[in-house]
Symmetry: C2
Subunit: 332 residues, 2 copies
Amino acid sequence: MTTAEEIQRHAEGALSNPSAVGLVAVIIAATDGEPRALTVQVGSQAKGRSDGLPAGPLVPEHPTLERGLRAWVERQTHQRLGYVEQLYTFGDRDRQGDDAGGLHSLSVAYLALVREVRTGGLAEASWRNWYRYLPWEDWREGRPESLGEIETKLLAWAEQATDPKLRRRREDRLGLTFGLCGGAWNEERVLERYELLFEAGLIPEAQGQCGEASESDLAITGQPMALDHRRVLATAIGRLRGKIKYRPVVFELMPPTFTLFQLQRTVEALSGTNLHKQNFRRLVAQQGLVEETDDVTSGATGRPARLVRFRREVLLERPAPGFRLRPARRPA
Amino acid sequence: MTTAEEIQRHAEGALSNPSAVGLVAVIIAATDGEPRALTVQVGSQAKGRSDGLPAGPLVPEHPTLERGLRAWVERQTHQRLGYVEQLYTFGDRDRQGDDAGGLHSLSVAYLALVREVRTGGLAEASWRNWYRYLPWEDWREGRPESLGEIETKLLAWAEQATDPKLRRRREDRLGLTFGLCGGAWNEERVLERYELLFEAGLIPEAQGQCGEASESDLAITGQPMALDHRRVLATAIGRLRGKIKYRPVVFELMPPTFTLFQLQRTVEALSGTNLHKQNFRRLVAQQGLVEETDDVTSGATGRPARLVRFRREVLLERPAPGFRLRPARRPA
DNA sequence: CGGCACAATGCTCAGATTGAGCATAAGTGA
DNA sequence: TCACTTATGCTCAATCTGAGCATTGTGCCG
């Protein structure tokens, strides 16, 4: 068969080899300076329940992938979505769980940012601090305690490799992702860190355990999620952490008016690091990302803060910048 | 049905509503300072042939999406792939061409970067300068001629809108993407520009015409491609232009040793802009992206240039930087 | 009412990074 | 040898960054 014919048969070929396609949503909000993801309860009484992300199959009624996703999310969580972007398509046969008899099982994942947290709606949908699932990613209070134990186990895992080349490779990855062996922590490598932990056997999902974790596990390797949803969440966080640096997406998470410090707290919540306050506001001011309102906060202690709003016009302006994050070196 | 049950039926639901899934590859190389994409001939004598991207259906034999892609590409083009990353999943029902009777038609697109251009292999696979398909994206010789006519037509399209709000919206988009109405050109917005042209009716594929373009059309709106492959190509270019700024991916396109100027030419080819020579080499040197070899070029005119090689170690180092592109203001 | 604690906001300053250009070096071909 | 071409070295002003000190409004507490 020639190449041309082959490609011509593309559609027919695909028709005779169809696949199951699912849609998954990572829906993010930030309230009270905490980053949250919308979760639902997955599983049955018998098999055990676990946290999962809103998801559903793609059905022919959906005109587009994104519309299908919105439909599922609204049905399962009563949450309407604003900003939505495609995240990644997970399609490996080796995903644990559902190997559907020769069929591929694809999941097209989306990232959504929403403003308000309406806990109303189904009781089964609830907002959870995302660091519950990935506790080692939160450096706002300094280096997370749990990283000590994680590192010990990871180093042991690297040692396990008998082939020196493989061992070297593992150590390199540890340095690259967890900052071990002289590397630095890069807050964007969320997925790579998760996958390393997964390979090292520190993630219960690898053995098909997605339910409630023990107290100690929860503090160290975090709460498991259904299927590979924790991987999807990690992908979303990494993407978002990268994106806030060059696109003004944080504002999708903010209320109509807010203070610069609330904005900073939100950025810090997402990136998992602390920022230098004065420099942060200088940056925001210079970039012209916000405009002042006539209002100020009141009631709280300390000098009232000016309320500002996002300048929608910047979406039409030149480089449409985000935040370059310079962590404030925290005094030990 | 409760949410939990709904999610539980996810897999079964998907099974009864399967979709056709295809794989598409944008394979990029850069030789002689030109960016090229690997294309194949699609279509039949009867229906007319056109350029397309290597593609094929996902079949159960493929263990993962990426492996399936590699298999198709090697079969169709005899090209082995090195660096591969997932690009985007195109799934809109409104893709022209194949509305497969109630089935969705998904395409999972990948971006691949390869080093050598072996034209050997199938005659039907050939390397094409990517600006053949998107001529307005090449600003290396200054502002492309064809942009004059394109702008005229785009402005006319914006004018067409009777609803003032819609008109305003269209003008905003023109400013944002094509730098009209006071905006600036952002070389990363390749896809947005293509989609704008598509909506404005300047892209023949919108009417299902993918064959050979007339001489004049070719110079202005570029050579069409099969199906929505030009959209996929635009997505790939935009992604790559963004990525070279913060990851050292250009080196995937370079031979084992090369001169700094060759490297610059490659970056310029990808980004479609010119760079300031001295500053470019300062940047590369500072970032420690390359190390010198003992060899120099010979034979060409001018002072011989030192040959350098990529420092693989940087992949393990801290921010693993790319190039921040500062276009050289070209003298009028 | 005066002073205090607290958060917001203003301002400074040295060091690093950029954008742009001039100057020099080292080959080729005539 | 000269003319020409490209590579490479170096300078300099403008700007950007990281870090910290200083000042300004508020609520609260004697």
